[in-house]
Symmetry: C2
Subunit: 814 residues, 2 copies
């Protein structure tokens, strides 16, 4: 619904501190971004001259900014989590009544409740749609095969797959390109403070829901879990937008949530709800949000996420109860995943422990290799995808046909197996699901490979986890299936459809685990179903690198707490092994997409640098009472988002840092034209005319633009008192502060701007501003290429404190 | 083993920033602490005179310090989590080889492994001891009763209980008073950055283990869960001490862990392992540490805690396997708690949902009332306990006899019930455990109240959770048992034995839930065992106020994932209801004990104040190259732990803040006597003679004292270069920074000292230091009693930024 104005805003919200070309795999995007910042960097403030910083206002490097706007960049915006404690905020906060605070708390819980309800409903809808579409497809094919119409069966199977795949791909390619892929890396980046363009837009939500249904139904080796996380986050963002002014869908009370802080909380709950809805794992969902998605966490948030997931669990359970009466078409028991591994208590001996350890090591190796290959394939695909929607569709079509060929073709090479004695009723299966597919086999026989390939992914996993008949799958079958899933999983991720990574990894892991279990059948007392489960765990640990959340998710999936110690063991081993090769798959994708993700810890080489070393200029500052034309000029020719405000004589004895003013606040201020003729304080008057809510931050890409503000020449010569909107308490570091400590401050407090103040007296009151970009390893290592290896100093160099990094300086720091 | 030197150090480690009288319930402890700081506060620095701060050195208020030392105070020490980035650290860090980093990582994992192993073993030992002692006691009594020796049975029962109780109490009263109570509040405070004296000492560990065994065996209504958490933390602290120099038990590699940062991580893992060992709930343990215990959390720590708990799980499982062959005496299946509620799938309808909600509301009300009463009782007991060990023992004896009377006396009022048909084999029970105690009843009958009272607590819970015979317990029985548990739980916590709160709360909650379930028997389709489980959950939620961790712990205890949605619902409701009355029981105890716990969020009134408003003086600063006598004087007559170091002419053009030096580092420095005759820089020489490890922080109460350093009169006139040991990157805030933002910075980064720098130029480079104490509500509200109500300002007052709180000032801020 808000889709159109989303589209219109594109390209307008770049900002200096975060413009990095949206990589999409082509390496040089980051390069160019860095070049630009280096250009502006060489124009840095020459503080050693001791002149007031205000004079720098005229030295804005306009060309480099135009170069950015000219290039085809995909904007990334940093988020404002800091509470802007300006006078307006204080006035509003002091006048806030107790009832408003209760209202706020009540609304927050209501929003969270709505997120839970909506995500639960979408998750259920997704499941029912997939089960019905895929079920119809498979039934149709089986019927044709029963009539010995093998060729027609293949054509219809592959044809339906192709049509569904192209539907999903068209949605992605034409409506919302941001909806392709898993979505977890983008949500993770958002929760770290980076808003990639339209990643949580309503159009993305729409495409994510339907694209995922079509994609999964099309038989791709993709899951619905990643997309569900993204969907949950989109729903939360939509609800947290404060409605849509365009469609007159705003409520007064929603204005409380028009800030990035509350939005972050809601989106965290949304991501948790997504996992809960996808896996029916409410506790696992909370832990997933905690361990993988969120960068900041409070116990209040834990509680709220827990509540959201309780709502999801209740919604899903009620709807499943409804479906038990058979009103949901082909949606049966198997719909929402809940794999019953076995009802008996697992028993294992020390040999099994050894086997499990080997499983963990292999899982780690295979998992990290999977990540490596996914990365390579993604980089290749992004070249193809960049060429246009037609190429995206072509790629999807190729992979769809390849998948159909594998699924239909490979079972022909499998031998027919006689049905096990005592299972004559279940074997061969007539309906669409079940373990024993007849395929081309004579009556009384089944094709075990077809039972895996020609099923929904959920059913295939269920078959692999089942221990009822340990000899059900041949070794060769498991090997072929494992290879196919491993390969198809890798080549499928990255095509233009919403695609989750969980299910492919579980499929490959479960088949590999069952393979090992079958090999060890004679020496092991652990059942093959458990081996499949542990294989899936080891593979998940090797790719995703989560521990507690994966463990709980798998336990909730299989409803078997007794496997806990083994599961923990295998996850720990596989994660440890895989971590020694590369990083987790989501981290890799975040990095590849060029999203400036801020790690929680400082890199070792940062201890060799100071805050002053890396902050890049030029710095634009304003006077406490500033000329309108200066402000407009600065807003026009820079993309800075924060401007320090300096109080100067005659208002104070000496120049001093008064605060930090945000671009968005300046625009609101200019729009309302609270100008005065002379350079005088007008704070109290301004406080009466404005209300803090006018400065509330709308959702991404919806704020005021400079073009929306029209200012006459006469007004240009007037003055504006910036005190009421200056954040009087910006966080500051001294320029000699170790960069490692500055980055911890920046990251822990979720800042967007960090003011760097001088150490020595008699200098301007601020020497620079650090933003997210300045902490990126690429930026720092670009400035100081040798700092990483510069780990040894002659002792005599480090005598006076704070000077130790002097010799590394390039000389152009702020 | 290190027990003795722990004892010797007592009373020596007070420090200015954290001296608060160990409240133990008597309100005025805090008062006195505040008075002291007010005294010193009135001696504050008169910055408006503009004179260098060095001149304040001579103005130390010696009398007030002596008053502190003279009073009977229980020292609390803040912990140093900040990395001290001084030149020595940098030198060491730069010279550190890669292999040392691997060694460090390897050692950390090894330590964590050892913590898991040790905690698992202790947990198992605890269980086996309790089961055997309590089992013998109960068997002996039953045998006497079978011989109709009722009076003798009571005497033997009460006598054994009393002896065991007195054993536990003597250990607590004479060896380690810190071991009394749950221990969770103290561990929570430690992880927040407050080290209460000897709370993690080896003596405490010893008493905690054996005291808990005796206490639980004595039939008290206490659990072993809180003590296990404390035990795990003690074990972690012991392993993280870096060995004992006294007993020559140091290893070279352990020196890496001689800092509060690593110790904090280890103790978090230890606390998690404690829960895992107590409940056999490894995932729940991790979540408990995350949600309740820890104040700072990183994903690396999550992983490490997960590993620890995996080790605990494996250890417990292997040992239980060993016991299956019957080598563990009376330790049977029932030993480590694992309650099997039911094997059938729970079914519930909308009536049940309503019932569950009522259960949640009632649980919240009862839980918060429980907290209220516990608080009152604790305050009363602490008056008794303060009178001396004899009074402690007396109190324990009274409660022991009361408990024995209840357990043996109340079942006489219950009616005998005929054994249910079909259960003739199990009823009445002959052995020590089981549902159907014969007690005084004729053959073929059982006494249902005796089945609850005359069992171990674990078995009583198991009986309540069991749904096998829903008519097993009469309504009156459940009511009597609930009342007894509620009352005894309240009066037992606070006596001088290690006592956990989980089990009493679960016992009361389960009986109350089963009571409700029995009442609703006809209209509800949910079984009574589930009602008992939900009742326990609601009660736990109402007292402890945890959500996710309680949910997972209960699921792991009962091995029944299908109850998840209902459990979440009931926990949410009870927590919400209870939160509207008072705070969680652990928070209450932390507050009552006077531990300066720092909350994660800022209080609203803090927005009305600035950092400069609250920092209390007098401030003692040192020159970059300082005279020895000045340092010794400052160390002797103040209890400050951090001293700002100011570089002055001729070393610099104008005075500037060079860094912050710690008391402990100064003592090491003085001890080695690296003095120079004149005021010259001697950094490079010092760097050659010192090694960073000499400054490593030993475990609590083990550092150097000023008395250990002997300095001649001649040396007193020499100089010492403080640059190499000054932390050159202390975190700073401007004095006009909003206090709300300063506290967030302080808390998020886990600081001990926060430097307040002036806003205006031409003033001394530092105006004060904020410590934990300065952020305590008592301190702030003592300075500005009206700030809480001062929520309204005339708009005109807030014109220039940063000045808004001016009018609130008392005038004596730094």
């Amino acid at each position: 619904m808000d889709h159109e104005d989303e589209e219109m805003d594109r390209g307008d919200i770049e900002n200096r501190d975060s413009i990095i070309r949206h990589g999409d795999g082509d390496g040089d995007g980051e390069e160019r971004g860095r070049d630009i910042s280096f250009n502006s960097n060489s124009e840095s403030n020459d503080d050693s001259l001791g002149q007031p910083l205000l004079s720098h206002k005229s030295r804005v490097n306009a060309t480099s900014q135009i170069a950015i706007v000219g290039a085809k960049v995909c904007p990334i915006e940093s988020l404002d989590y800091e509470i802007v404690e300006n006078d307006l905020f204080k006035q509003d906060w002091r006048s806030r009544k107790k009832v408003q605070i209760y209202q706020y708390v009540f609304m927050k819980w209501t929003l969270v409740l709505l997120i839970g309800l909506a995500t639960g409903l979408v998750g259920f809808f997704n499941n029912i749609a997939v089960e019905n579409i895929a079920g119809f497809k498979l039934l149709h094919m089986t019927n044709l095969m029963l009539k010995n119409e093998y060729r027609l069966a293949f054509i219809s199977f592959a044809g339906i797959n192709l049509v569904l795949a192209l539907c999903a791909a068209s949605l992605c390619a034409f409506f919302a390109p941001a909806a392709a892929g898993s979505g977890i890396p983008e949500v993770k980046a958002y929760l770290n403070g980076v808003d990639a363009h339209s990643i949580l837009a309503p159009s993305t939500l729409f495409v994510k829901i339907f694209g995922s249904i079509f994609g999964v139904s099309a038989g791709f080796v993709v899951g619905k879990e990643g997309p569900m996380v993204h969907t949950g986050a989109c729903i939360a963002n939509l609800l947290g937008q404060g409605g849509s002014r365009k469609y007159h869908m705003t409520w007064r009370w929603l204005r409380f949530f028009k800030n990035d802080r509350d939005r972050r909380d809601l989106i965290t709950c949304g991501a948790a709800a997504g996992v809960a809805a996808a896996f029916r794992a409410p506790v696992g969902g909370v832990l997933f949000a905690l361990e993988e998605a969120a960068s900041w966490w409070r116990s209040a948030l834990l509680w709220r996420a827990f509540f959201t997931n309780a709502v999801v669990a209740v919604v899903l359970r009620s709807l499943i109860q409804l479906c038990k009466s058979g009103k949901c078409g082909l949606f049966g028991e198997g719909g929402l995943i809940m794999f019953d591994v076995n009802s008996a208590e697992p028993s294992y001996n020390s040999t099994d422990l050894l086997a499990v350890m080997i499983l963990g090591v292999l899982g780690g190796v295979l998992g990290s290799f999977y990540n490596f290959l996914v990365d390579k394939v993604l980089r290749t695909y992004s070249i193809v995808n960049e060429k246009g929607p037609a190429f995206k569709l072509l790629l999807v079509a190729i992979i769809s046909i390849l998948t159909s060929c594998c699924a239909y073709g490979l079972p022909w090479f499998a031998n027919c197996t006689p049905c096990p004695i005592g299972l004559e009723d279940d074997c061969p299966t007539v309906g669409r699901s079940g373990n024993y597919k007849n395929f081309q086999c004579p009556p009384g026989h089944y094709n075990d490979l077809a039972s895996l390939f020609l099923n929904t992914n959920d059913d295939a996993i269920r078959n692999l986890f089942s221990s009822r008949n340990s000899a059900e799958f041949h070794l060769s079958t498991l090997f072929v299936f494992f290879s196919a899933m491993y390969g198809l999983g890798i080549v499928t991720y990255g095509i233009a459809i919403p695609s989750g990574l969980f299910i492919p990894v579980i499929l490959a892991g479960a088949s590999y685990g069952r393979l090992i279990g079958t090999v060890l059948g004679s020496v092991s007392s652990l059942e093959v179903g458990y081996f499949a489960l542990l294989g899936a765990a080891s593979f998940l640990g090797g790719t995703m690198r989560m521990t507690v959340s994966l463990c709980v998710i798998l336990l909730e999936l299989t409803n078997d707490l007794l496997m806990l110690p083994l599961m923990m063991l295998v996850l720990l081993i596989s994660k440890t092994v895989a971590d020694s090769f590369n990083s987790g798959v989501y981290d890799q994708i975040v990095k590849m997409k060029g999203l400036p993700f801020l790690e929680a810890h400082a890199e070792p080489y940062m201890r060799n640098l100071t805050a002053g070393d890396v902050c890049s200029g030029p710095l634009i500052t304003f006077s406490g009472v500033e000329k309108v034309s200066n402000i407009v000029h600065a807003l026009k020719f820079t993309k800075h988002n924060g401007f320090p405000v300096i109080d100067e004589p005659p208002f104070t004895d000496a120049p001093e840092l008064c605060g930090l003013v945000l671009r968005s606040h300046l625009l609101v201020f200019l729009k309302k034209k609270s100008f005065v003729k002379n350079q005088v304080l007008a704070g109290s008057q301004i406080l009466r005319t404005f209300h803090a809510f006018e400065f509330a931050k709308p959702g991404s890409g919806k704020g005021l633009k400079l073009d929306d503000v029209e200012i006459t020449d006469e007004e240009m010569d007037m003055y504006v008192d910036l005190h009421p909107i200056s954040n009087a308490s910006p966080y500051t570091v001294v320029e000699t502060m170790s960069l490692a400590k500055a980055v911890v401050l920046f990251r822990q407090l979720g800042l967007r701007h960090l003011c760097v103040v001088p150490k020595k007296l008699g200098r301007p009151p601020i020497v620079g501003i650090l933003t997210r970009h300045d902490f990126m390893p690429e930026h720092i290592l670009g400035l100081y290429p040798h700092v990483e290896s510069h780990n040894k100093f002659v002792n005599d160099d480090v005598v006076l404190c704070g000077n130790s990094s002097q010799k590394l300086k390039r000389g152009n720091s702020c």
